[in-house]
């Protein structure tokens, strides 16, 4: 780079040297040059970078009025024409970490410049922002300041040049939960043989795909009175009116749909078809009740065993659905069902 990278550094009230918890209400402001640990960060950046200004804000001020603080931050930063925003390091401080993550994401989105922050892996800011913001891993407290600043400076230089980054381990940032394709030296089958041999020998080994940690969903309490309950049918089997009038996709569905069950005692292959691209649907086409059991529910309704069958069938296709979409569909459908007074739903999957 011919000229120095222009860096804005974000600090909370404590690290900026304004004060402790009693100053956590400090409004967003900006001061020229580097402050506090920013001076050491400047030393790490060397001649390649210049911290042209330090943005500072009290942790409570940010937590209470994030939109206002973000807007103010953009106003204050703009005139400095920065190339990069660096926030923190926040170590284990939760409010500070959240503020750093949110500020970085906002600046990336609105100013189009790269941003990075740094915090301890267990900081709540990591979970919320790791997918969108580069976060350098630090120790839990300010005693880990020096390695944190070194890691931040190293990543800063790379981010500004726009060179594609290497793996998180190599570049020193927390894995963002993003998968990127590359070509290995050996075929997968060969790698699997050698991975197994390491495991059998008791040597350290590493999976190429990490095991997930899924959130635990607390089940709803049991129905108190099934005979009074409105029960809805929801399906990912892609059962739609013949002709697929709303063009539900066979895989990677972008939507969920509502179809009226009013006056229907069961679903027939004349009226409905299965567009799901992940299994052989011809048994469903013969009789869609096989995956959406309206016929049986109507019987239970007639017998008074359930209160009522909800009038609307909710449909999507689950095949190849990104988790984020599936989660959103579920939340949206559930919100409608609740609003309609439905107490239970039968969800069929394939």
């Amino acid at each position: 780079m011919e000229r120095r990278i222009r860096v804005i550094h974000y600090l909370n009230q404590f690290f900026a040297g304004v004060g402790g918890e009693e100053k956590a209400g400090l409004p967003m402001e900006i001061r020229a040059g580097a402050l506090g640990p920013g001076r050491k960060l400047q030393a790490e950046l060397g001649p390649e970078g210049e911290i042209v200004a330090t943005l500072l804000c009290g942790d409570n001020a940010f937590a209470e009025q994030p939109e206002g603080c973000l807007a103010r931050a953009l106003e204050l930063i703009g005139p400095y024409k920065p190339d990069l925003l660096v926030a923190g390091p926040a170590f284990g401080a939760g409010r500070y970490g959240l503020a750093c993550g949110q500020l970085c994401q906002h600046v990336q989105d609105h100013l189009g410049i790269p941003a990075l922050t740094a915090m301890h892996p267990e900081n709540p800011g990591v979970e919320l922002y790791r997918a969108r913001v580069y976060i350098v891993a630090t120790g839990p407290a300010a005693t880990a300041m020096e390695p944190a600043l070194r890691g931040m400076a190293r990543l800063a230089r790379k981010l500004v040049t726009g060179v594609p980054l290497g793996s998180p381990e190599v570049e020193g940032y927390l894995p963002r939960g993003i998968r990127r394709n590359e070509f290995a030296a050996e075929p997968a089958g060969v790698r699997a043989v050698h991975l197994l041999l390491r495991k059998l020998r008791g040597d350290p080994y590493e999976s190429e795909v990490p095991l997930p940690s899924f959130e635990r969903v607390t089940p709803a309490p049991p129905l108190r009175d099934l005979q009074q309950a409105a029960v809805a049918l929801v399906t990912e089997a892609g059962v739609v009116p013949r002709g697929n009038p709303d063009r539900l996709e066979a895989r990677r569905a972008t939507k969920w749909l509502r179809y009226s069950l009013h006056g229907l005692r069961d679903l027939t292959g004349e009226q409905f078809e299965c567009v799901h691209g992940g299994f052989d649907g011809h048994f469903v086409n013969q009789d869609p009740d096989r995956v959406v059991p309206l016929d049986v529910l109507r019987e239970l309704e007639a017998e008074g065993r359930i209160g009522a069958v909800h009038e609307i069938l909710y449909v999507t296709v689950g095949a190849g659905a990104p988790l984020a979409n599936a989660r959103r569909f579920g939340q949206e459908i559930a919100a409608e069902l609740r609003k309609a007074g439905v107490q239970a739903a039968i969800l069929t999957g394939t």
Binding site: A131, L165, S167, P168, P175, R176, G177, I178, R179, R180, N181, E182, F183, A184, A185, E186, P187, A188, G189, V190, R191, A192, V193, L195, L196, L197, K199, L200, R201, Y205, S207, E208, V209, P210, L211, P212, G238, N244, R247, E249, A250, R251, R252, C274, V275, H276, G277, G278, F279, D280, G281, H282, N285, A319, G320, P322, L323, A324
Partner: protein
């Protein structure tokens, strides 16, 4: 069981007056090839073309890729059960044309209830080339013209058999010659100090259209069974999967299975290769899935394994079957390493797998098949004219195959093959 694999290194392939191999140059006479399938009533015609690495050529509507091989001695025929009676193969001598593949292409009519034949592409040059192993081979591309009114099953069966016949015929020109390279495949007793490893190969079968053939038998009813690695090399396994291209295992890849070859290579030195368990996946009911997983683990123990490498094919339920097998093996005291592809959405941000077991702590990735790539225009297209889409889920459908278009890796033939023969993988970023 001892097999000698005699390889003939082919440096050039061209159409010519006769079909022969001379000084590494394979000449192919289209009329001779066409005569092989003349008695097949389903096929109205067949063209023969050659596509070499580096050419601006796109091959589309691919059904299978097959390596030319033939038996020159020993029991049985190549592709037993299909080109000859189902006599046990894997011994004697087999000839192989190294560097050549037969690719069968056709526009298969219609789709059947969501499981139709999917697009499968190979680019011989350009950004998409590295994603398919066939871009590095000299491909003999067969384009089939099908009779009207065939069902998908009839059409694919006719094309499948024709491709195998051509592959065997091409290898057959080497029958009297001495190979460039001769490799012996035999598994003598190994030291008891070596770790004992088995290979669990899960193959797909789903519905009427997509399946795998073992000695010509559709594996759909099959409980896990035992195979000798040499049987792979003589074409005991033939692909009948025409579903999403990236997650297919081509017949070529059964013939050249990388796990089989690596385990054979290391046998007696770094490990004791105890054998192969073949299992179908995509069982449709929980009890059936569990039965198959348990049988696989039981067979692995019965052949004396301590560790099992597991590969799979296709996706969705196939991932559940993989995880169940991993779990059954680990709970039976067998250590596992498993191979699978990922679906992490186009930007890589989604969770990769449709199912997972806590025991799956040693996974090998064959890449994210949702990643998107833009293919440039090409000078020549073989196999079709219009990009196949299915029910608007892929996008780009009806694009002209010779032009530029964007597609997920899903359409690139064997791009993320979970049988283990590709070098693509995904990593954290």
């Amino acid at each position: 069981m001892e097999l000698e694999l005699g390889s003939f290194i082919v440096r050039e392939v061209a159409l010519g007056e006769t079909t022969r191999l001379q000084d590494g140059r394979l000449s192919i006479a289209p009329d001779e090839i066409r005569a092989l399938v003349a008695d097949s009533p389903e096929l109205r015609g067949m063209t023969v073309d050659v596509a070499q690495p580096g050419e601006s050529t796109r091959i589309a509507h691919i059904l299978d890729g097959i390596e030319p091989r033939c038996k020159v001695s020993g029991p049985g025929s190549i592709f037993p059960g299909l080109l000859g009676p189902p006599v046990t193969v894997g011994s004697g001598r087999t000839h192989q044309l190294d560097g050549v593949a037969v690719l069968t292409t056709a526009t298969i009519p219609g789709a059947s209830d969501g499981l139709g034949v999917k697009e499968a592409l190979v680019d011989m040059a350009g950004p998409a080339a590295p994603y398919s192993p066939f871009s590095r081979l000299r491909n003999v591309v067969l384009q089939f013209d099908l009779r009207e009114g065939l069902s998908i099953i009839e059409a694919t069966a006719a094309v499948r058999l024709a491709g195998l016949k051509v592959a065997a015929y091409l290898a057959g020109v080497t029958r009297e010659y001495r190979p460039d390279r001769l490799e012996r495949f035999v598994l003598p007793p190994a030291s008891s100090a070596l770790p004992r490893v088995a290979y669990l190969c899960q193959v797909m079968t789903e519905g009427d259209i997509h399946t795998t053939y073992l000695y010509g038998l559709n594996v759909e009813g099959m409980l896990p069974t035992l195979l000798h690695p040499n049987e792979f090399m003589d074409g005991a396994l033939v692909a009948g999967d025409y579903h999403i291209a990236a997650m297919r295992v081509a017949t070529y890849q059964f013939q050249n299975n990388s796990v089989v070859h690596e385990l054979c290579r290391l046998h007696g030195r770094a490990l004791d290769f105890r054998g192969v368990i073949l299992a179908r996946n995509m069982w449709w009911a929980p009890g059936a899935k569990q039965r198959s997983a348990e049988f696989s683990a039981k067979l692995a123990r019965q052949i004396g394994a301590e560790g099992v490498v597991i590969t799979m094919q296709n996706g969705g339920h196939a991932v559940s079957d993989l995880m169940l097998a991993c779990q059954s093996c680990e709970r039976a005291g067998l250590k596992t390493a498993i191979v699978l592809f990922e679906m992490a959405d186009a930007d890589g941000s989604d969770w990769s797998l449709v199912d997972v077991a806590p025991e799956a702590d040693a996974m090998v990735s064959t890449g994210n098949m949702d990643a998107v790539i833009t293919l440039p225009p090409v000078d020549r297209v073989l196999g079709g004219t219009t990009l196949l889409d299915f029910n608007q889920y892929e996008g780009g459908g009806d694009a002209h195959l010779g032009g530029a278009f964007t597609t997920a890796l899903r359409r690139i033939y064997c791009a993320t093959t979970p049988g283990g023969d590709g070098r693509l993988r995904a990593r954290a970023a």
